[in-house]
Symmetry: C2
Subunit: 147 residues, 2 copies
Amino acid sequence: MKYYAYENFKNDANALIQEIKEFNPQAIIGIARGGLTLSHALAEGLNIRDVQTIRTELYDAANKREELTICGRCSFGDVQRVLVVDDIADSGDTLKAVMNYLACGASEIEFKSATLFYKKTSVYEPHFWINEADDWIDFFWERDFKN
Amino acid sequence: MKYYAYENFKNDANALIQEIKEFNPQAIIGIARGGLTLSHALAEGLNIRDVQTIRTELYDAANKREELTICGRCSFGDVQRVLVVDDIADSGDTLKAVMNYLACGASEIEFKSATLFYKKTSVYEPHFWINEADDWIDFFWERDFKN
């Protein structure tokens, strides 16, 4: 398990901003909770005010396979390019489901995705990512704040 | 202007978590963009998965006074206690407008607010806050990420 400190995050988020800026997104959808701090950083760096969130829940229906449910509604007005943000594409299930869900609801909008980490075994590869993950990542936002 | 570094934030967010935990909120509404990183930290520390966002826009209607518009819809299911999060109550206009807006829409829910900073001249005082602001705060999320 590798501690991912704020200083690493700062460098990686700035590298992502350089990758993303040609896409020129007008809105950000952050996947809660993991994508929230990165959404904030990218929104500041890319000068985007419209930041919305979405989250997924795994329901373990009795005797059925687990089902991924998407919670939250996004509204885009006349926005044409939207960046979907999460911390990591690990299994890739969340991002894949969210990207499909968004594309179904708004076919005239171009959605691209960005993460800090991407695992080669993920079923989904984000458009923009910085690090390949080969270990469990101990993100500072999961470590530094305790009840 | 005072630089507010991640290390300060870490300490203050943990202090906020201690203040807030008796309220035991079930969902968080982060005010974008300023409240997003704090929303993430509080959600992790308080073990809250339901994080939503709202944002405000100032429209300068010709020859009229500026008008504060609230963008974003929140949905709460059977949630009873919601924490509204922003970085600072400065003029207090944003938080006051958001709290009024939320209270109108859902009278059966208890909303409380939390910020890192509070200015004595604010028209609204958050339920939970840590520092009194007497200078302009240069938050790390506004300084560290550049296009």
